[in-house]
Symmetry: C2
Subunit: 412 residues, 2 copies
């Protein structure tokens, strides 16, 4: 942890020099409830930019636009993100709306449209209320600032069914000066309640080339946002953007002495946001880590972990503090990964309890039954599998499935 310091009282993106932010209410949900629903974030100087987008083939209009924009390699000056409407499954008109939103934002700020990214999250299948968005952008331009309140407003404006803002900032000391990295995200809860969407925005004042920035982001996303699941539903709008404005003057590349520290810091930022997302899953009571070791390949490790992480039976048993290891074995068995009763080992562990043996190569440790119950009754615990098939591993974090989740999501 000497590689970087955590900034305890974070205000999100404005913790990083050169970034201005705000969040405004433009009533995208048509509820006149004053709820912030449009975030605007701008850099004082042009930024290199990296992005990771949903693999969903029904990708929303802003995602399609963002992919194109990123591929063009143009420097970015900021982004605008709304909640309450996903602009997904909206046909050609949806793309026109996303383009218009980008154009309006750019015009307000004096940038080129291609310098501004747009993101949306919320209800699927309805047109964006463009007049309200235009008004929101005008208001946003006026209120943009670098104060703590400005950063907090931006973080609040992107929330949907989240119960709290998700923020993190760190500082990497280098021999050439300090580099800051800040992030904000919104969660894997259901939205409005139409869709689970993950949005994450990360900013740094480090000076990083676009290719290097993309490599760092992709690696960090794989081990964080791509390793959490609440309900297994990948949304139409998932987006992670990483902007680097270079204002610190500290150049960073794989050749720099500080590159590893920078990478670790970005990984920490993404991991922290991902954990805040999973910890705020809709109506959950528990976060469970699934650790797979000894898989034949990384792909298989992932298949094994996800089969467990997304099993309704497994998730229901977590809700009941039930050490139902038979369901884990069953999910492993249909995961598609190479597994066998003869080679697999299973343990439970939690923060205060050393790993407790459950099953090993055909033998069940029935004598440990009271301990199993104790371990899985914790608010967070770990399931440790060694498949005994190879050297690949992976970790995934999931939540329990509760009656509250079903009730919350049963209707609009």
């Amino acid at each position: 942890m000497d590689d970087f310091q955590i900034i305890e009282e974070t205000s999100g993106l404005v913790d990083t020099p050169g970034f201005l932010a705000t969040g405004v209410h433009c009533d995208i949900r048509n509820k006149a409830d004053g709820r912030l629903d449009l975030a605007l974030v701008v850099s004082e100087t042009p930024c290199t930019v990296a992005g990771v987008f949903t693999q969903n083939k029904m990708a929303a209009a802003p995602v399609r636009l963002g992919r194109e924009q990123l591929a063009s390699g143009i420097a970015a000056r900021g982004f605008v993100a709304n909640s309450g409407n996903a602009n997904a499954c909206t046909g050609p008109e949806g793309l026109v709306d996303a383009l218009k939103m980008r154009e309006l934002a750019a015009a307000e700020l004096g940038f080129k449209p291609e310098e501004v990214f747009v993101c949306s999250t919320g209800r699927i299948g309805e047109r964006l209320p463009m007049d309200q968005i235009a008004k929101g952008l005008t208001d946003g331009k006026i209120t943009l600032g670098t104060n703590s309140a400005d950063g907090l407003k931006a973080a609040e404006a992107i929330l949907t069914s989240d119960t709290y803002s998700k923020l993190v900032s760190v500082e990497v000391p280098t021999s050439r000066g300090t580099v800051r990295i800040s992030g904000m995200a919104k969660g894997a809860g259901m939205i409005e309640p139409n869709m689970a969407t993950m949005l994450a925005f990360i900013c740094t004042d480090g000076q990083v080339g676009a290719t290097d920035l993309q490599a760092v982001l992709s690696e960090a996303v794989d081990a964080s946002f791509n390793a959490v699941t609440v309900d297994g539903d990948e949304s139409t709008n998932d987006t992670a953007l990483f902007l680097a404005n270079g204002i610190s003057g500290v150049e960073l590349s794989p050749k720099s002495a500080d590159w590893q520290a920078f990478k670790k810091a970005v990984a920490y930022v993404c991991h922290t946001l991902a954990m805040k997302i999973v910890g705020d899953g809709e109506k959950i009571t528990k976060v469970v880590e699934i650790s797979i070791e000894g898989a034949a390949t990384e792909k298989e490790a992932n298949m094994a972990a996800r089969a467990i992480a997304n099993s309704l039976l497994v998730k229901s048993s977590w809700y009941g503090n039930d050490p139902n290891w038979g369901r884990l074995m069953d999910a492993l068995g249909y995961s598609g990964a190479q597994v066998s009763e003869e080679t697999v080992e299973l343990q439970y562990a939690n923060a205060v309890k050393e790993p407790v043996a459950v099953f090993s190569k055909g033998r069940t440790f029935h004598e440990n039954k009271p301990l199993w119950k104790e371990v899985v009754s914790a608010k967070t615990f770990s399931i440790l599998f060694n498949l005994g098939q190879g050297n690949a591993s992976c970790r995934v974090w999931s939540t329990d499935l509760t009656e509250g989740y079903v009730n919350f999501n049963k209707s609009e």
Copy 2:
């Protein structure tokens, strides 16, 4: 429907000449509740046999044994099936127990061990109580019979969390005499509540070669038992067995004039049992048909249907009678099938309502919104997708996800 007649008052397997059945209580659950938990079914003459087993790599000991037995090609004289204990994840001892159970049954009945199939369903990870099973087999031998009550007892003895027995019988008239086909099954509810297991047993007095019998069973299983899902968890014990004792004297093969009628009748038997299984899913309130047309390949049609059928968000919305088509589009988008907003068409329908347009190639039929709600509020309804990518299709039946399911499965 002229190909075969449904026998309205079915008693299960004893409806087919030459099959004796019974169900006894041997207290496998150690509850001394008198509940029937061991089914014994025997044919007066040797049978050709076909089988389909779970793909789960943690396959239970009886499944491993059954696969071997089937591959040996030996004629079968019957089967024994217990509920309350799955004999899964029980190591080498589990296999010894399954062999012993087969041996005991064969000794009671005067058959060779390889002529008797064994099946288990229930709790995972615990040894079978062999003394009780031995006693059950002795009792079963005495009570074996061909009366209605005997067939019903067998069907009852294999149930776990099912709320009713699942039986069906049909009769195929041929120019050479009548052929009967009977079936019994247990459901995809959770067991004990450790595991969802599907067991199905089908008997006929037709005279059918083992290869042809296997072809008919495999095809019927694909369109029935493999097309229903309650929670997406494939069990360690799923088994379908089909025994033909030939007593009718009616020889049936792909060259027979009556072959198509026989195939249709078997398909009907499997479909009926599968629908009874899904309709008795744990704490469900709704059965939903998902029909995919226009997929690029059959595999993709299946991937698309299953992504929808197993989405927590989609299943929760069914529970709330909520026509949440955005969730369907999202699931389709991450299913892995080739799909595009520009080609996809979606309609809702139910038994009394013609298909109602929801979405077509980028256009949403907002004007139909009240109709959507009406259609999906029915106890059963259909989701009709045309992906516009090719000519492949498939149908899958799923259930809603209820608070009751989560509560029922949260602990032992």
